[in-house]
Structures are given as C-alpha cells and as structure tokens.
Amino acid sequence: MLPFIKKLGPISPHVHWVQVNFFDSAWSSFLTILVLYLLYLIVPASIEWGVLNATWLADSGEACRDIAGACWAVIPAKYRVMFFGIYPYEEHWRPTLAMGITGLAWVMTCTRTFWKPKLLAVVWIVAIPSSLLLMWGGVFGLTFVQTSKWGGLPLTFFVFTSLMFLGMPLAVLFALGRQSKMPVIKSVCVFIIEVVRTIPIPMILFFAAVVLPLFLAPGVDVDQLFRVTFGLVLFFACFQAEVLRGGLQAIPRGQYEAADSLGLSYRSKMFKIILPQVFRTTIPSMMNGVIGGFKDTTIVIVVGLFDLFTATQAALADPEWRRYFTEGFIFVALIYFLFTYAMSKYSQLLEKRFSFGKRD
C-alpha cells in the first residue's frame, strides 16, 4: 500500500476494499487510473453515439442522414436478409421454424433433466430430418429451396450441428485410433490428422467443393453444401482429436489397469472409464474448439454460401443502408456474443457438474 495512504489513519471497510483491490501498489494505482481514463474516453462517447443521438426507427436510410448518432433503423429494415441470406423472402417462416426445432433440441441436450440417451436419440431423430425437410421443401406443398440458397443463421446452425454430431464422434475415433496398437489403424489416423491440420480451412473447402467430385463415381452427385460441411467436420475432428489425445495421455495408467483387472472389455474400458475422464479434463479446450467451430462457419463463403456474418455483409451492401454497416455489424457481433457466451458459460457449468466431489 502506498505510504501516503497509510498515514490517513483508520478507514472504513469500503475504502479499505478499494485500496486493497485498486491501489495496492504504485503499479496497480497506475493501472486503475489508466483504465478509468480509457473508460472516460469510451463510455460517454459510446452512450452519446449509441443511445442519446441515435435513431431507432426510420423508413429509409435517407431519414438517418442528418443524425450524429447511430442509425439502428438499419436492423429492423435489414434483419431478415441478415438472418436468412438469400432464402426466398416469403418462405422465411420455414428456416425460423427449423431453427426453433433445432434450438429446442439443443436446449434439451444441454439440460440435465433430459439426459436420457433414448429420449435424446428420439429428440434428434425427429429434429434433424424435420428441420432439413422444412429447409429443403419439395414435399407437402412446400416449394423446393436448393441448398445454395440456404443462408444466414440457419446455415450457421446447420454447419454447427453437423460439427457436433459428426465431428465429435469422428474426433473420438481419430484420437482412439491414434493410440491404437494396430499399426494400420494408427498410421491412417496419424496421416489424416497431420495432413488435415496442416492445410488451411479454405483449401480444405476448396478440395471438398471442387476436387472431391472428381473422385466420386459418375452420376453420384453430393450436394455442394454437404461436401463443404464434410470438409469442415473433418477439420474440426482433427483438431478436437488432438485435444482428446492430450487428455488421454493425462489419464494415469492405473485406470487402464484397474479396468483390465476387472475384466472390462475394450469398449467398456474406453467409453465408461477412460473417455468420461478425458472429457472432464478437456472441457475447457474442447469448448475452445466448439466456439471456434461456431465462428468458423463463416468460411463457407469460399464456395459462395452465406452464413450469418456474410449474409449481414451482403445485406449491408444495399446502397440505401450501406453507410450504417457499423450498426449492422454491432448487431451481428451481439448475436455471435450471445451464442458463444452461452457456450462458454455452459462449459463452466459442465466443469462444475463433472467435478466428481473435487473442489476446484
């Protein structure tokens, strides 16, 4: 504590708290003052621009012209293009419903009350086909919408859900395969992981979109969106596999030996003893990958698909509103923040839930 503060004599607990936390040393006093100064620079100006001088509603971009503050009117004017990209305007209820179904399935999956494997299996077996059906159409009087027109948030949802459902199991297989005592399985897994990890994502997507069809049998035509999603899944799986491998190496040998000495099969040993512990210790780094995966969906632009971010970019290209792209991007950033913050909070919850009596 600074000497001159000590000389002031007895102080109230509140002042003491401030001293200890903000002015404990010359360095911390300096940082506190610096941060206060930065806040002084940023906060009043932001409030002035974003709230006090802002326009909330306007019929056109013209109406915002003479205003010093933010023009939030861009959001009500453009949000549907941001959210749904070039999906046919009058059919927007379909992706909305599809996202509702998938979102509900995710909420159930993340809620402990519903952690019953059979129940969740049913939930997803209903959720995935019905969402895809809604998006696609072509039956039940729904007009057909090709996947190249899917875009915005539903596309982000689609890619993200695929990453979780295909990428995670694949990651587990790769990680276990890499540890395998069978040389062929081991080298195949090492090869895939090392190759995929060293290639930039755009190039993988390019391969998936352009090169992969050359290898498919003639007449077999896999949809562009699915090929690209597969590329992302592979990329995601290889990175998560390496995270899992780190976790696997941290499990003491005694755990394997105890499982062996009970006579457990390889499958029981891995899925009931080893992997649950691996998941527990790798939650933070796995969640890193998951959040990254959510944001990486943007990369599908390389094959001309518009996820939430690129759909927003496209929406703000409209000459009438293009001056207000800042407001649009702040809005989208907020949406990304909501999703990823929820994920990171959820991962903390999981860590606590799986602390197994340990205090940490």
Partner: protein
C-alpha cells in the same frame, strides 16, 4: 492364529513355470517358478526392483512375459484374448494407488464389473456391492465419490470392488504402501478377515506382521529371482540365504 489354511487342497490354482520377462535389455524376471494352492495365502517380499510386483502382475496378465508358462485355474495365460479375459474376471487385484474410478460414485465403482462383465441386473449388482461395502465397514460411503474418502477408505473400496466379481484369487500389489500409518491397520484388518474366509491370496507387501499372522508361505525375491520360499515361522526364524537374512535385518530392525 494358525498359519495352516483351513481348506488347502492338493491342486495348485496358480502355476508359474520358469517365467522370464525382459523390459528391452533389462531382465525383470529370471526363471520364476511358483505354485499356489486354492485357499493358500502367499506373501511376496523383497527389496524394490526385485520383480515382485512384475511377477504378481503377470498372474492377471497386466504384464506379458517372453518365456515360461503361467496357468491360472487351469487356463493357460498365452496371447489368447479370450483366456486373458476369463482369467481377469476370476482374479481380483488391489493396487498400491487404489486406482478407483474418480468419476464414478463408490457404488458405481463396485457395480461396473458385475454389470458389464457378468451381465448382472443393476439391482442385484447393487445388493452385492452393499454387501461387500458392509464387509469392509463403509456402507455409509456408497454415494460419495472416491476423492471424498480417506486413503484407507479408498483402499477398502478397491478391495470391495474386486470382491464384487466373486474372484477365486485376490492379488494385492503393495496395498498399504501408499497409506498414512494410521490407515494401514484398517486395510490389513479387512485382508486378514478375507484370509480367514479362505480366499486364495497373493500379497506383495512389506508388512511382516501381516505375513506372520496370515501367510501359509512367504516368498523372497531379489533381482528378478525367487531366492527363498518357506512357511513364515521358518522364514522369519531360520532364513536360509544370506540375502534373505540381510533383507530381514533391514526391514525388521528399523
């Protein structure tokens, strides 16, 4: 208590015949031969690095070996995965570091073997688990996680976990070496009780009082070889080899 087992039959249930094992260049076991009869209690001792743990871990094939033969309950332990699985389900093992599954509650640690390997219904497995938890005197800990238990309690859970598989043989690999002194007795008490019930036991330990009280046979190992094998009275009062004498001097005088 008498050192003679109550129902020692003539047929050996564990046979090691001239077992040799190498870790790359280092020979861990040299022509190790041992036979254990059903109901017999064998204590294995020796300085660290003598191969005693390696030997006992060969009996349920946690370690493989390059030469010789091991037969457990009539089953030859070779590379056959089926034989290994059968032997493992009949042989229980208790480790120095307990090796409980930290993500499972005590009761689930106990039931996973019977449910998964023996295909036992959960309810029945839980009844058996509670029976053995009562026998090791900690039924009230059933719903806790291992990390919430003391070392001694964890080791007793580990013993109960093995017993739930109704093994014919129990192996103990230095079961008290990782325990605080005040907890050693509670674990040894459980082991003595188990011996009195007629379990076939092979115990690697430095607890010589336990060996005196319980063992039918004490085996002394050094440098990967079995140096001496004798009933406890003879072993402690009249050891034959110089190295056994030296070892007993060191371990009994400190």
């Amino acid at each position: 208590m008498s050192n003679q087992g109550p129902d020692v039959t003539a047929d050996p249930i564990i046979i090691l015949e001239k077992v040799n094992k190498w870790y790359e260049d280092f020979q861990a076991l040299k022509d190790v031969s041992l036979s254990v009869k059903a109901g017999e209690r064998v204590v294995v001792c020796g300085p660290s690095g003598s191969g005693k743990s390696t030997m006992i871990r060969c009996i349920n094939r946690l370690e493989d070996y390059q030469e010789g033969k091991i037969i457990v309950d009539g089953i030859v332990l070779d590379d056959s995965l089926k034989n290994i699985a059968t032997v493992r389900s009949e042989v229980g093992m208790v480790f120095q570091q307990f090796n409980l599954f930290p993500h499972l509650r005590v009761i689930d640690n106990l039931t996973i073997g019977p449910i998964d390997v023996r295909k036992m219904p959960r309810k029945e497995a839980e009844e058996i688990a509670m029976h053995y938890l009562t026998r090791v005197k900690i039924p009230e800990q059933a719903l806790k996680y291992p990390s919430q238990l003391s070392g001694g309690q964890q080791q007793r859970v580990a013993i109960a976990r093995s017993l739930c598989m109704s093994p014919k043989i129990m192996l103990f690999d230095e079961p008290t070496s990782a325990l605080d002194p005040e907890m050693i007795k509670e674990v040894l008490d459980v082991m003595v009780q188990l011996a009195e019930d007629g379990m076939t036991m092979v115990v690697v330990t430095h607890e010589m009082a336990f060996a005196r009280q319980v063992a039918d046979k004490v085996v002394y190992m050094e440098d990967g070889m079995v140096i001496e094998e004798a009933p406890p009275v003879e072993f402690f009062t009249n050891p034959k080899s110089e190295s056994t004498k030296r070892f007993l001097n060191q371990i009994l005088t400190h």
